[in-house]
């Protein structure tokens, strides 16, 4: 008994029931999906062969990747800006900003998506106003294309980018920045050489969070893309529900899962993931 105890931390016994629950309810279905991807419609790797045989797959994956990267860049940039302002402004203003951020965070994605159509649609507020004062003769095509998808996704993702950054920035010891100024660095130098490196964990975690969530986007591309911006999530749903090609759907799902895991692995080579997810940095 003691020998076992030495090898296995007794804490595991406390966690064990929950671990089993997770395995049964979460890993089980995922395994089922992975299994489907090599057995439906026939056993073998035929579903995975489509990846390099079919231009469609390559294009859908490329579209998804491109949109996710652009969304992530803009969301994290805007998020950094907002978080920086929130940390350094007056407490009362900070509360207002946090309230606005959370309100938009909580509003349903459908509402947020459709409100962009009203604002930027062909006969939306902006196009009508610009047309009315004679700046443009033809409405600008903001929506129902890739630009529309990007606007909608960045808008949705900014709060996700802000929150990890905010937590990270709040925990910084401001005396470090004071010391930097005291030792003769300018404000700009202090930012680039001291502040920014200290916020790397926040940047990495918000980048990861935004990118991974973007991969699974479904509603926004479907509505704002006008049917022409096809991302993996929507394609999977069509294969499941309409064309009954469950093998293809499972293959793409497996691919996304592997993609995310690979990304986490690469990140872990550069830094401790536990810092990113809020664990101790030691």
């Amino acid at each position: 008994m003691n020998a076992i105890r030495k090898k296995i931390n007794p804490g595991w016994i406390l966690v064990a029931p929950f671990l089993l629950l997770v395995v049964a309810l979460y890993l089980g279905p995922i395994m089922n999906i992975l299994w489907l991807s090599v057995t439906d419609p026939e056993p073998g790797l035929s579903n995975y062969q489509k990846l390099y045989q079919s231009d469609t797959m390559a294009r859908i994956i490329w579209t998804t990747f491109r949109i996710c990267v652009v969304t992530t860049i803009f969301s994290v940039f805007l998020g950094y800006w907002i978080a920086y302002a929130m940390v350094h402004c007056h407490q009362q203003q900070k509360n207002y900003m946090l309230a606005f951020l959370l309100v938009s965070f909580w509003i349903s994605i459908l509402v947020r998506t459709f409100s962009w159509l009203m604002l930027l649609g062909r006969k939306g507020l902006v196009n009508d106003a610009l047309g009315g004062i004679g700046v443009i003769s033809e409405p600008i095509a903001f929506m129902r294309n890739e630009l529309g998808v990007l606007i909608g996704m960045v808008h949705y993702m900014v709060p996700y980018a802000v929150l990890p950054l905010l937590v990270n920035m709040q925990s910084l010891d401001m005396r470090v920045m004071n010391a930097s100024r005291n030792l003769g660095a300018t404000g700009t130098q202090t930012f680039w050489r001291v502040y920014l490196p200290l916020t790397t964990p926040g940047l990495v975690s918000s980048t990861l969070l935004v990118f991974i969530l973007s991969l699974g986007f479904y509603v926004t591309p479907a509505v704002l893309g006008g049917g022409k911006v096809l991302m993996i999530a929507e394609y999977i749903s069509v294969q499941l529900l309409v064309t009954l090609k469950w093998g293809t759907a499972a293959m793409l799902a497996a691919l996304m899962l592997l993609g995310v895991l690979a990304m986490l692995y690469i990140m872990s080579q550069f830094m401790k993931l536990s810092t990113v997810f809020g664990g101790s940095s030691s």
């Binding site: 062909r122 049917g227 069509v238 294969q239 009954l244 090609k245």
Partner: protein, 369 residues
């Protein structure tokens, strides 16, 4: 979805008992809390439709009012079995999943006839019992082994009378001619109707569409790709038109009247070369109410009275030839099988779609994305 429905029903029953004073407030609140919490537990249990009612799986909207009034009421009067609804949309994948899981909670799906070709031979559907259901009460090609058409809907288009008032478009050829009729177009995202429209625009006769020449259809569709938007739901098609995003839009024909009304007549429906789609009732294998009851239910839905009520309520067109002559004056212009339109429309081939639909949808998505 099934467990959600179970929760809803438990709560409704609880609420009724509470109102009737059979249950005290505390018990009712506990019930509310439990139905909120117990979702995970119920996954393991079986949430099934009771055998003494018919559950129709459809697409929501005004189903309580329309299907309930047209079919549910006469059926309940005759058999005592009420009609209930699951409005989550019986897509092929969901039906297959439901039957495969062995937890069948719907008795009849308001689906497409081509679904019966795709799901019937794989053992996911009950065969239609043509001793109870009549083959004469629908169009000749639309009474199939695993599904029977009750109503027809269709793909037609509306155009902006302000843009093309003097020389209105009247065919799919006009719809695809963006030089003569400049402006944006909207089409259905999941290939149905869009492929047929492209072929008719390219000169294929409306009774020689099948088997579809995919390459020809996709080439035609790509020719207006830059001017096209694609919609995935009826309401999206509706709003693309009403919000002025397109000057010609493919729509489900039964929404044509609403669009004309909502736009104060600015948009007008064109029924020429509309594609008639057989909406069908199909029965998941092992439906809870049993085969006998559900066949009687389908027979009730075949009656002209029921079909005319659905026409009045939802704009869905009767498929029973006995009802064609009774289509009222104000629906003549919009109904597919009215004397005015029946010779102008093309008819969908559910067998081709059932066998080739999956590949067609993927080829279409590839072409438009």
């Amino acid at each position: 979805m099934q467990d959600k429905q179970f929760m809803r029903e438990t709560l409704t029953d609880g609420a009724k008992a509470f109102q009737a004073g059979k249950m005290n407030r505390r018990t009712f609140l506990t019930l509310c809390a439990m139905t909120g919490f117990a979702t995970a537990n119920v996954l393991a249990g079986k949430a099934e439709a009771a055998a003494n009612e018919i559950v129709m799986w459809n697409w929501g909207g005004q189903s309580e009012e329309c299907h309930g009034g047209a079919i549910g009421k006469p059926f309940e009067a005759a058999t005592g079995m009420p009609l209930r609804f699951d409005t989550s949309g019986p897509l092929q994948g969901k039906i297959r999943e439901m039957v495969d899981s062995g937890n069948v909670t719907a008795d009849v799906c308001d689906a497409d006839l081509f679904d019966s070709i795709a799901l019937g031979p794989t053992g996911h559907l009950e065969a239609i019992d043509y001793d109870v259901v009549s083959k004469d009460k629908t169009l000749p090609h639309y009474a199939l082994k695993y599904g029977v058409s009750i109503i027809l809907y269709g793909y037609a288009f509306v155009y902006d009378t302000e843009a093309y008032g003097d020389n209105p478009p009247n065919s799919w050829a006009d719809f695809f001619d963006t030089a003569k009729f400049p402006g944006k177009r909207s089409l259905y995202k999941w290939a149905n109707g869009s492929l047929e429209a492209a072929l008719m625009a390219d000169g294929v006769a409306k009774d020689a569409l099948y088997p579809l020449d995919m390459d020809r259809a996709l080439t035609k569709l790509k020719s207006i790709k830059d001017d096209s938007l694609y919609w995935g739901s009826g309401s999206e098609a509706h709003s693309m038109v009403i919000n002025g995003e397109v000057s010609m839009g493919m729509v489900w024909q039964n929404r044509g009247k609403n669009i004309e009304d909502d736009s104060d007549g600015q948009y007008k429906l064109v029924m020429n070369e509309a594609l008639a789609m057989p909406g069908a009732y199909i029965v998941p294998k092992g439906n809870p109410a049993g085969r006998e009851a559900i066949m009687k239910f389908i027979a009730t839905a075949q009656e002209p009275a029921a079909q005319l009520k659905l026409l009045d309520c939802l704009g869905m067109t009767p498929s029973n030839p006995a009802a064609f002559a009774q289509i009222p004056e104000n629906q003549q212009a919009y109904a597919i099988t009215s004397a005015m339109n029946i010779d102008k429309v093309a008819f969908n081939d559910p067998v081709w779609w059932g066998e080739n639909g999956g590949d067609a949808v993927n080829a279409f998505l590839d072409a438009i994305s």
